[in-house]
């Protein structure tokens, strides 16, 4: 874990919005003095002119840092819809850098990055950092269909990537977990970010083969810096860790997968209704 730099709320204008289909958009901001964010960290992002609704800032992983920090957003609801519609020059507030960083790669272990959809953001940032230090990681990147693989080219440049789509429209026909199951070796060090079910399965695979696995947690957040206590994630010691300050990056073995309901899509299926 690197020493974290001072957290700050800055107002920055949008430099550009790069749309990758309708669902995915890269927002790049103008921050002359720079943001010293590390891979794995996130920012609480909000339109400075949103008024009183939507009220809360949205947690977004840094895709890049420095004087032109960027995030990759996937449209989910009101907040990301507004981000997807934003135009250059529009002011945003960015609170950050928040949370901890990916653990540094261990000697003698090959980093394997497993990304699901928008989960690519903190992992691509990490891969670039590894690239700078001369490490070329393995990567498995999957989504429902081709459209759900934004920034795959960027990843391929600096990692040995296997793509996977559930509909087979691109790369391996199936899930990233199938791919990982086949190629996971004892000397791997897995980093993963994506839907909870995916991360849970990957955590399981790694546990079976006793391979260290680091996950990036996703849970609703109000403050992002440790004061609202709104982001607990159940842990195996029957307690909670708070994703914004003790996470988002954490050893997969500490997470009580399935317990609690810390990600909307993680929740059990709705009860059947008599037609």
């Amino acid at each position: 874990m690197t020493v974290l730099s001072r957290r700050e709320l800055i107002t920055a204008t949008l430099l550009q919005r790069e749309s990758i289909g309708e669902q995915y958009h890269v927002l790049t901001f103008d921050v002359p003095k720079g943001i010293a964010a590390e891979p794995g960290q996130f920012t609480m992002l909000r339109g400075a002119e949103w008024g009183e609704a939507p009220l809360l800032p949205r947690p977004m992983s840094y895709l890049t840092a420095g004087t032109t920090p960027s995030v990759l957003i996937k449209v989910a609801g009101e907040g990301t819809i507004r981000m997807a519609r934003s135009t250059p020059g529009e002011p945003f507030t960015l609170l950050g850098p928040l949370g901890n960083t990916w653990r540094p790669p261990a000697q003698g272990r090959r980093p394997v990055l497993v990304a699901g959809g928008v989960g690519i953001a903190p992992l691509l940032f990490f891969a670039r950092r590894l690239h700078e230090t001369g490490i070329r990681p393995l990567a498995i990147y999957g989504g429902r269909t081709t459209r759900d693989l934004p920034l795959d080219d960027e990843l391929s440049e600096i990692a040995d990537v296997t793509l996977a789509t559930e509909d087979g429209s691109r790369g391996h026909h199936g899930r990233v977990t199938d791919v990982l199951a086949k190629m996971l070796s004892e000397d791997a060090l897995v980093y993963t970010c994506g839907p909870d079910r995916m991360m849970a399965k990957i955590a399981e695979l790694c546990a079976e083969r006793d391979v260290p696995c680091e996950v990036s947690l996703e849970t609703p957040m109000a403050c992002g810096y440790g004061v609202c206590l709104g982001c607990p994630v159940p842990t195996t010691d029957a307690g909670y860790i708070y994703a914004c300050t003790q996470g988002p990056c954490i050893d997969a073995r500490r997470v009580a997968w399935g317990k609690g309901e810390h990600a909307p899509h993680k929740r059990p299926e709705p009860k059947r209704i008599a037609p």
Binding site: R7, L55, L95, P220, G224, V227, C228, Y240, P264
Partner: protein, 302 residues
């Protein structure tokens, strides 16, 4: 330079802006942002006699111009607070209001006695209005007699000034406030959250694990302001206004309505320095008009 000091009973605050319980941690999370000692004061996360883990996730969700929370009073407990948090706050010269919660009169007394043994607690705020716990909480706060009993018992147990936090769900809030005044409260804080619910129409279930949660944020402001306005006509002890304060203008509205000071809660989430900015804004408002902060109190009233 205008005088921003206001008095809440025997206690004088540097300025009328405090931070709200549960929205500011223990006041030790702000070193990166600003010097918390410049505020009128801070209210700690609700302290219980023993540590509490809090509710299962999800604990929060957003609503129109507001949010719901069902944290379930996760906190380190009064002992750890006194041992680890309070000394740091004291060292920084922060005006500390200890917000406390219990599900029995006895426990309220026990927590107050523990705090009474410490120096550096400017006031105790009784949370008899937490909507997110099974026992105690709101049930105390909706009933004048119960609120008075808690207040009276704690009053006997400590010489520290006592604030009682009102539940907006009481059928007759003025009666509760008057009962607390009679029982020895030095001030009333108005208001705590109102219980709300949000449902996910796709998953067809409540969004929060606890189903209901307390509504906070701007959506709550007009209701909170009305309650402060009403109480100002009914009790003679100071009223601490709270509910959806996001800007200096919002804070000023509460002072004009009759609040002696205000607390900033949810606003801290979108901007950690919100309370400081609000305090600066109120000072400016006073400077441009040649007023002291206390001159604002209640002047919008007929």
């Amino acid at each position: 330079m205008t005088d921003q000091a206001v008095s809440v009973g025997s206690l004088t605050l540097k300025n009328p802006i405090l931070t709200a319980s549960g929205c500011f941690g223990y006041g030790l999370e702000y070193d990166d942002f600003y010097d918390v000692a410049t505020l009128g004061g801070i209210c700690t996360k609700g302290l219980s006699l023993h540590p509490r883990l809090g509710n299962a996730p999800e604990r929060i969700c957003e609503t129109p111009a507001g949010m719901l929370n069902a944290i379930g009073l996760a906190n380190v407990g009064v002992e750890v607070f006194c041992a680890e948090k309070l000394p740091k706050l004291r060292a920084r010269g922060v005006t500390v209001i200890a917000n406390i919660f219990a599900s029995s009169v006895e426990d309220f007394v026990a927590i107050a006695e523990r705090l009474d043994a410490e120096s550096g607690v400017a006031a105790i705020e009784l949370n008899v209005s937490c909507p997110n716990v099974k026992e105690g909480g709101i049930e105390f706060g909706k009933d004048p007699l119960m609120s008075a009993r808690v207040t009276e018992a704690v009053r006997k147990a400590t010489r520290i000034p006592l604030w009682v936090k009102m539940s907006p769900e009481a059928g007759d809030i003025a009666a509760v406030a008057k009962a607390c005044e009679a029982a020895g409260a030095d001030a009333v804080t108005a208001i705590n959250t109102i219980r709300g619910l949000s449902i996910d129409s796709e998953l067809r279930r409540a969004r929060l694990a606890n189903s209901t949660g307390g509504l906070s944020g701007p959506a709550l402001r007009p209701i909170a302001l009305r309650i402060v306005w009403e109480l100002a006509g009914k009790v003679s002890i100071p009223i601490i206004g709270i509910g959806g304060i996001f800007t200096a203008r919002d804070a000023i509205e509460f002072l004009l309505a009759g609040a002696t000071a205000v607390q900033v809660g949810t606003a801290n989430f979108s901007d950690p320095a919100a309370a400081k900015k609000i305090a600066d804004g109120v000072r400016e408002y006073c400077e441009t008009r040649g007023l002291a902060a206390k001159d604002l109190i209640g002047i919008a009233r007929p």
